[in-house]
Symmetry: D2
Subunit: 271 residues, 4 copies
C-alpha cells in the first residue's frame, strides 16, 4: 500500500505541499452555496460479492456546488453590469441552464506557474488576522519586502491570513479576514495569473467598496476586469510554517464544461 | 483575459499536456455509474443584479459519480474476498453510508512522478486497437523496447490504445480494448505508482481471467494486491502524437473523504 | 403485512384506481428534464445493525426533476411573453434560484374533485392513437357524447389515448399523440380544474399552433391563460378497461415551495 | 387563477385538511437524513424566450432523502435482526444499491381509510407535550374515551402532540415528544393500517425500550412486527383546532420503486 498522505510526496529532492482542505459534509460553506457537499456510498462490496469470483466493487455519488471546499472561480462566475471579462455579455446565448458557453471553467488551462506565499499573519506577528480585517495593498507590498519577494507577471500569489485555523468552525471561518479592494488592484497591476487565500471569499464578506459600489470588489477587479482567477479555502499553514515562500504552483481545475468554477487540489512544489 | 486552453501552458520551456477529457452529461459512462454526471446552473447573474451595485454572481450544482469521466480509482474501490489492499476487511467499521474509513481517495498523496507513455496503437501500427482486444505483458514489454523506455519503480505508466477516438460514441468506447491480466501483473512487478489508459475500465470489460476467477482482473491485481492506482478515460492522443514518452506526471485527486475515487485532470509536463 | 398494491384498496364499497406510473431510472423522460430520476440506497441495514439491539434502518436519496414520471405542472411552469397566469411578470422577484415566489406548486390546493375519463382510443376503436396524432375539440365533444358525459366547471378531465402502452419504449412514448390547441381551448371554456393524459406533454410534441405562434399551445392556453393544471404521464388503462368514466379524482401535489411542478400519484375513486 | 391554498378545497359540502408541512431547505431534518432537501431552479423562462413564439418554460431539480418533511415509512425501512416484516431477510437479493426488491414504497397501496385524530395536547390541556415526553398506551386509550372515539381495524390513527409548533426551530422540533413502546403495541393490537404524528420520528428520539432492547421501538413494533406504516412530520393543528376527530384519510405515497419511504401530502376529508 502506498499511503503517503501524511508525507509530502515528491520526485527527487523536492517537497510537495498539498493545499486542499479535505472535503466533508461539515466543512464551511458560503451561504450562497448551501448545502455545499454531500457524498453517499450506495454501491457496496457485498452487493456484488459472489457474482464475479472473489472480486467486488464499491462506489458512490457526489452532490456538490462547484464553489465548495478548496476551489477556483472561473471567469463566468462574476459579472459587472451584466458583462463578463472581456466585454462578453451575459445573455441566453452565453448563460444557459447547463452552464456558460464562454469563460466556463474548462477554459482555464492547467496551471504550472511560479507561486509566492505572502504570510500576512507572520507579517502582523499574529496567529491569524482578526475577523473582518481587510488587508491593504500597502501591507501586501510590505510583506513582500519583509519576505524578500518580488511578484512577477504570471505568478500565482497566495495569501496566508491564519483564517485556516477556523476551518472547523463555520461561523468563525466565514467571519474571517479578507483583502481590501486596493490589495486586489495592486495584484492586478502585477499581472498575476491567479490569487488565493485561506478564506472563504478572498474579499471580506459584506464589505462594500465605495469606488466600485459593491461587495466582493476583488471578484470584480480580478475576475471581470483583469481575467485573474481566484482560489478560495486554501490550506496554507504548512507552507507558512515551512517558510516556503517560492514554489512551483500547480493547479488543475476539472473541465466541467460551462461551470463557474471547480473544486481543486492545488499543490506547491518546492525544490 | 487569460484563455490558454488551446495552448499548453507552462513554466519556462516546458510543455504541459492536459490528459483530462472534458466533462459533459453525454460523455461515456460505465453502466454501473449511470447516470454519471449532471451540471445545472441555478444561480444566474440576473438574480442578484441590481442588489450589489454593478456586481452579480452565478453558480451551479454538480451531481456525479466519482467514477465519471477521467478519474482515479482509490484502493477502497475494489476488494477480493471482501478484503481491501493490505488485508483490511470490508465491514461496518470500514464501509459506511458516507464512505470508507480506510483507503478513501483522500489517502492518495498528490502525484508528482516520472511518467511514461506506451503507445500500443503505434506499436501495432493502427489508429486504435480493436474492440475487446486484450493487451498482453509481452506487448507492453516489446513496446517499451521499441520506444526505448525502461519502467522504474514509482513510475506512472500510461497506455495509449487509440480508444480515445471513440469518446463521442459511448457504445464503441465501452466496447474498446483493455489490458489482459498478465499485463497488469507485469506492471505490478515493476512496482509502479499508478497506471492509466484511454479506456473506460483499464481491463477489457467482461473478460474473465481464469486464474483469478473474475472479470476486471487488473483491478484486483493492481488496487487490491499491490496498492497501485488506476486512472481511467485519459486523453492521451496529444502525448502520443508528440511522441512524448517520458514526462513528469502530475495528478491531484480531490480529497473527497471516504470516496472510492475522484475525477482528475492529470497533466504530463515535458521539459 | 399489508401488501395491497395489486388490489385496489378502498373504504367501504368503493374501488380506488392508482393513476401513477412506477418510478424507475429507465422511465421515459422528456429531453428537457434529463436525466430525470435517480434513487440510490446509501444507508444500509448492516451499517447500523448491532448498535441498537436488533433494530436497523435503511434509507436513500432521490435526485429528480419535478417533471419526471407522473407529475403535475404548476402555474409558474409556463409563461407567455414572460408573464405567468394572472399577469404576473417573470422577474428577479418572482423567479429565483430556489424557485418561484408566485404560483409555485405549493399554491395548488389538494384536489378532491369530480373527474371524467374520455377514452379517445375507444372512441376511435383503436388500442392507441397514432404517433403525433392531434386530438381535436370536436373529438373530445363527440367522445363525451358517446360516453354520455357532461363536463362541468371544476371537473378534472383525463384523456386516455392508449399511449400508455409505450411506457417501456421511451422513443415511442415521446412520439405519441397529444391534444390540438382547440381541444385545450374547448376544455378551458368548460372551466375545468385540471386536465391530464397518458402522454409526456399533453400537447403533441413539436407541433406548432399557428394562432398562438408556439409549440405546446395547450400549456399556454391552460396554465397561463386559464390557470388550469396539467397532469402528465398518467396511468389510465385500468380506468379505461373498467369503463369508469366518472369518479372522484384526488391528487395531492407535494408542496415543494417555489417548484414548477410535483411528482404525483393521483387516484380515481369510484363508488 | 385557482389559488386555493389557504382555503381548504372540497367537493360538495366536505372540508379538506392539508396535513403536509411545506417543503423548504430549512425545514427540520433528522440527522440521519441530512442534508434532507434541496430544490434548484436551473431552467429559466428567459433561457428559451424568443425561441418558441411567446411561450417559455422553467423547471428545476430536487435532491432529497425520502425521509424528509412529511413522509411515510415503507416496510423495508426498518429491520429486526436483519429481517424485514414477514420474515424477509435483508440480503443482496432484497437490498440493492438502487433500493429494495421487497417491501419498497411502491408496495403501499393508495390509502383511503377512516382516520381518527387523538389530540394528546388537548387531553393534557397543554399547547404541546413537553420535550422527550413519552405518550403511553393508557393515555391513548383515555384520549379516545375523552374524544368518544373507537379505533377499528384498518383505521389510520394520527396523534397530535403540539410539537408542530416547533417546526421552525429544528433543535426544539427534534427534541419533541413521542410515543412510548406500549402506545405502539396498543395501536398494533387494534390492527390499524397506519399511524402518524406531528413529530420527527413517532418514537421519542434516543429513548431505549428495555423489552425490545433498542431505540425507536415503535418502528420495530409497527413496521417490522405488524406491517403498519408510520407517517412523520404531519401538520395536524388545523384538524385539532377544528376538533375534526373522524375523517376520511387519504395518502398516496409516490411509487419510487425500491425506496424506503416517500414524501407525502396526506389529506383528511371531513364530511
Amino acid at each position: 500500500m502506498q499511503n503517503q498522505a501524511t508525507h509530502p510526496a515528491g520526485h527527487g529532492s523536492e517537497r510537495v505541499f498539498d493545499l486542499e482542505q479535505p472535503r466533508t459534509s461539515t466543512m464551511p460553506i458560503h451561504p450562497a452555496h448551501q448545502p455545499g457537499y454531500q457524498y453517499v456510498l450506495y454501491r457496496r462490496h457485498q452487493d456484488s460479492f459472489g457474482q464475479d469470483g472473489p472480486r467486488s466493487g464499491s462506489s458512490g455519488m457526489i452532490v456538490c456546488m462547484e464553489h465548495s471546499g478548496t476551489h477556483i472561480d472561473a471567469l463566468c462566475h462574476q459579472a459587472s453590469d451584466m458583462m463578463l471579462c472581456g466585454g462578453i455579455a451575459v445573455d441566453s446565448q452565453t448563460q444557459t441552464p447547463y452552464g456558460f458557453t464562454k469563460h466556463g471553467v474548462e477554459t482555464i488551462a492547467p496551471m504550472v506557474a511560479p507561486g509566492v506565499l505572502l504570510d500576512l499573519a507572520a507579517y502582523h506577528n499574529l496567529p491569524a488576522l482578526p475577523p473582518g480585517y481587510a488587508v491593504s495593498a500597502a501591507e501586501l507590498e510590505a510583506c513582500c519586502a519583509m519576505q524578500h519577494l518580488v511578484i512577477e507577471p504570471g505568478n500565482v500569489v497566495l495569501v496566508y491570513t491564519g483564517n485556516e485555523q477556523n476551518w472547523s468552525d463555520t461561523t468563525a471561518y466565514l467571519a474571517g479576514p479578507g483583502m481590501a479592494a486596493d490589495a486586489s488592484r495592486w495584484l492586478a497591476k502585477h499581472k498575476v495569473l491567479a490569487v488565493g487565500a485561506d478564506t472563504m471569499a478572498w474579499d471580506v464578506l459584506g464589505l462594500r467598496d465605495p469606488e466600485l459600489g459593491c461587495t466582493l470588489p476583488g471578484h470584480v477587479i480580478l475576475l471581470v476586469q483583469h481575467g485573474i482567477y481566484i482560489i478560495e479555502n486554501l490550506r496554507l499553514s504548512e507552507l507558512a510554517i515551512a517558510q516556503a515562500y517560492r514554489f512551483t504552483f500547480v493547479c488543475t481545475p476539472l473541465k466541467f464544461v460551462g461551470a463557474t468554477g471547480s473544486p481543486v487540489r492545488p499543490i506547491a512544489i518546492v525544490r
